[in-house]
Each structure stands twice: as C-alpha cells, then as structure tokens.
Symmetry: C2
C-alpha cells in the first residue's frame, strides 16, 4: 500500500501527489508512514525560498521565475505558505488569472498550504510537502512565505537559496521583516524598482545586512542586492542567474562546511519535529492517563500542589536519566 503510493509519487502521478499534500495539510493519519518511505527519494531538488511582506509582489516574481526556469527546460514545484498569496487563495483576481497560465503545463506543480497549526505545525507541513515535491522529481521547488513569523524564518532556513523581496520607499517595510530573516537571506530583491527611493532602499538594505552579518557570518557568500520589476519581467533573468551563482558557490565550499550546513538544517528540522510531537501526542497521552486524573483529584482536594504533580507526572512518563 505504502510502496505503491510511493512508486506513483516518484513517477509523478499528480493525483496521488495532490491527495498526499491534502492529507499532510489535514494532518491525516498514515501520511507519516508514506513520508518515511518517500524520504530516500528526496534530496535532488533545489529549494528556493521567497520571502517578504504582503504587497511586495512575491507572487508576480514567482510567476516570472517559473516562466524563466521552464524556458530553461527545468521542472518546477511551487508551494505557497503565504496567506496573502494568490496561490493560497488570498489575493486579487488579476494575480490569480496570471498564475493560471502555468496550470496546463505538466512541468509545473503549484500547491498552497491552508493550515496554521500551533507550535510550528505549519513549518512541519511545509517541510513534508517540500519532500513530496522533491520526491516527485521537480528540479526546483519555490517556497513562498510572508516572512513575518518564526515559522517563516524556520522555513527559510531549510531552503538552499533564500530570496528576500522588498519594495522601495518603505522603511517600515524593511522593519516589518523580522530581523532574524535578514540573517538567512542570500539574495535581496528590490521589486517595483521604478518607484522613487529605490536607491535609498538599497542603502538601507546594505546597512541592515551589514549589521546582521556581523552577528551571523555565512561562509563564502556575500549577500547580493538586485533591482527588479517583476510585473514587466525585468530583473528576472538576473535573479535566476544570481540563484545559479549561489548554487555554484555552495559547491565550492569545503566538504566539512557542506556537512556542517546540512547538519544545521537537519538539527532544526528534527528539533521542530520532536517539539510538535511532544506538544501534540505526548501531552495528550499524559493528560489522558489515569495518573493525570489521580493527580488532578489531589490538587482539587488540596493534598498536592500542581508544581509537584507536574514533576511527578513527567518523571513517571519520561526516561530522562
């Protein structure tokens, strides 16, 4: 059963992929076993994160990037985890219609995630869907996020290249992006660069990047800043070239550095996954146990304080020697 699903996904069966993504989004049981079996087919796609505040034109940029990658013969998976994205059903009709031009192209697979679970549930679903798009054989996976929460920063950390999009004349716009996201940005795009103040924005960005770089030095890559007007397809070729440069640059890193990067990503992902399981499954298990009910009775009749009850329940349920 699991094997036949995995085989269909690896062969690019769009209906099976779509169902699995829906199941991941819904937290349906059984998806975990499929993801385990699917995992050995992952690791081939190049993952690009696109992040920025609502209204900076991320979707238009993604739309043009798809076009550019397709002209180059590459297949593309797109995952929108931005609630303001037309892909996620949150934007104006014009954007949505424009995106439709890729809907009949078999080399493009576009999906969005609806869930906004607590405690990094979104991050977890996103990573699982990336695994699915990777296993189905897409050359590039573009993940569009809105870049305001910790979830988005965590997602950006999992991308091979992270592109931060801003627009001119919005100092606030840059401020609105969480400081943490600057640390993970590899390429910065000033979209709608025909607007006044584009150069000031470039200077603001440079200053901001300098500040964050001092705290967090990425080896062998100086973040670049590009100008673009995605609506008229200006700057897209340059962006795709820069992404390619970053990709090649990664290959020049020493084996130790690459392994250290991989390990950092894996550590983040595994830690997040354990955290979610603790809060969802382990917590439920404890609160549904007979011991929990007994301790509760003791608290209510005043023979036990909740702090001790908590300690005792945890030490009974955990092997933390």
């Amino acid at each position: 059963m699991v094997n036949s699903i995995v085989e269909k996904i690896v062969n690019g069966d769009v209906r099976v992929v779509a169902k699995l993504i829906r199941d991941i989004d819904d937290g349906a049981p059984g998806t975990r076993e499929i993801l385990k079996a699917l995992y050995r087919h992952t690791g081939n796609a190049y993952i690009i994160g696109i992040t920025g505040a609502p209204g900076v034109g991320k979707s238009t940029l993604v739309d043009q990037m798809i076009q550019g990658l397709r002209m180059d013969g590459k297949t593309v998976g797109v995952l929108a985890v931005d609630p303001t994205s037309p892909l996620s059903g949150g934007a104006i009709l014009g954007d949505r219609v424009r995106m439709q031009r890729h809907s009949l192209d078999e080399g493009v697979f576009i999906r969005s995630l609806a869930t906004r679970g607590q405690f990094g549930g979104l991050t977890q679903s996103t990573r699982s869907v990336i695994d699915v798009l990777d296993a189905m054989g897409k050359d590039y996976i573009i993940v569009e996020t809105v870049g305001v929460g910790q979830d988005e920063i965590d997602i950006a950390k999992s991308a091979h290249t992270t592109v931060i999009v801003v627009v001119p004349g919005m100092g606030d716009n840059i401020q609105a992006i969480k400081a943490g996201i600057f640390e993970v940005g590899d390429i910065f795009v000033i979209n709608k660069s025909d607007r006044p103040d584009a150069l000031n924005t470039m200077n603001d960005l440079k200053a901001m990047i300098d500040i964050t770089r001092r705290r967090f030095k990425k080896e062998g890559w100086e973040p670049s800043i590009l100008m673009a007007e995605a609506a008229i397809n200006k700057g897209i070729v340059e962006l795709l070239n820069e992404i390619e440069m970053h990709r090649k640059n990664r290959k020049t890193l020493s084996r130790e550095t690459i392994i250290r990067h991989k390990k950092a990503i894996a550590r983040n992902e595994l830690t997040d996954m354990i955290k979610i399981r603790l809060v969802e499954e382990v917590l439920n298990h404890i609160t549904n146990s007979l011991e929990f009910k007994k301790h509760l009775d003791c608290i209510v009749d005043g023979t036990k304080d909740p702090y001790s009850a908590c300690d005792e329940l945890l030490s009974a349920k955990l092997n933390l020697e």
Copy 2:
C-alpha cells in the same frame, strides 16, 4: 532556605515577594521549589480578571476598584499582564501618576509582568505570581490582561470572576475581543458610557453573549452588563457589588458543581504546566542527548529519514505504553 522565604512571604515581606516575582518573570532557577512550598498557603484570595482591548480604560477602572476595596477594608494585589497598561510601563504619564496614589498604601501591592514567553510561558508566570500574592495574604487579586490572545483567555479561566471591559461606539472593539473570551466573561462593563452609542453597544453585547452562551452554559449565573465612567468613579460601587453578587452566587452552587469548576481550572493549569515543561526541558534534554547526535549523523549521511529518527528518539525517551 525555602522555608524561611516562604515564612517571609506569608508574613507579607514586600521585598521578598518582589524578588520572587522578579525571579518568576526571569525564569530564575529555584523559584519552583519555593512555589511548591508556598502552594499550601494559597486558596484564600478572591481573584478578579479584568480584560479588554487597549484604550478601554482598564487601568483607570482597576485604580478605582482598588480605592473602593480599600475603603471597604480589603487588601488588594494587582498584577498587570497587559503591555499597554500603565502598570506594565506602557501607557501615558497621566495614568501612571494616578496609579501612584496607592504606592504608599501597605494594603495594596501592584506588580506587572514583562515576559512574553512562547508556549504559554506568560500564563504560567501569571498563575505563579497570583499564587504568591495569594500566599502573602491579599484579600483580592486583580489581574489585568489585554484580552486578545489565547494566553489571556487561559488566564481569565483561572479567575473567580472575569470582568470584560468595552467602550461604546466600537463594534470593532467587540469584534477585536476574541470570541473565546465572551465564554468566560461573568460581568461586562461598558466603560466611558457617556459616549454616544452606549445603548447600541449594550444591545450588541447582549446579542454576542446570547450566541456564546448557547455554546457554553455557565451554571447558575446570567452574565450582567453594567455601565461605568471609571474616570469620574461612576459605576464602580455597582461593579464591586456585582462582583460580590457573583461571589455569593458561586457559594450557592452545589458541592458537585464547585468541585467540577475547580477541577476544570486545575486541569487547564496542570495541562499548561506540563506543556511548557515538555517544550522547554524535555525538548532540551532530548536534543542534548548522545542519541540525538547519532540520529542526526544518520540523517546527514542519508541512512535514516527524520520521521523515523523522531519516532525512535521519542520512544526511547518516553514511557508511553
């Protein structure tokens, strides 16, 4: 050491209480043992939650309530967990100065919490500080929250009487209050009731209360709606009387109902406490273990998928049979 601290707190030593509250807020080690020992001295204070959007005049209302309770000879502890409250350092000078009138009164102890930890850390700190104010012997504890997040709803659930404050002419204001908070409201106060639209607001409130009541029936108490102008001390006596009515009403409930209520509160508190420990301590324990490092290496060299690594780590560390 713990015993002497507990004794000082029970005897109302303000300096020791202030230090413990700071330690709780900072998450300092050792506070937990003090809280355990302190717990048997709690359960005597009457806890009033005051919740509402920023700008509705909660702090002014609390200030007048303190005055009213003091005139009645009661001691009062106040805890502000609202970042916009003058008590928390977030409001205009006038409010702050007004509050100062209680600062020399030994029967009043006012503190605010600064922390906004993840995963209900604020809720946990708030409950611990309530325990401290309770143990130090305050008759009434007023907890001021801003009423917009799940944290605040959880805090409101721990109060004996929850007062929701709104102002007229702000349909949005009512909307801004999370629906969940209506379910826990015992008394609704329309502050600044000299403003136009106060009667419309009353009708809106009645409708909103009716809707939520259908989902969540509180036994033996019909939520009341009061008008007030806290700035000129109008409606405060009526509010304090209504709180007293609610308090007396609780005493008319059957023993079974009271125990059920107590149990519901204890269940919430214990569940939250376990959740925080899981995410903070248990997660750290697992990610710092040798097994975690081994699994990480396997993920990086491709011999294990992260889903299986997560399952194996959890089952090794947990007794969840």
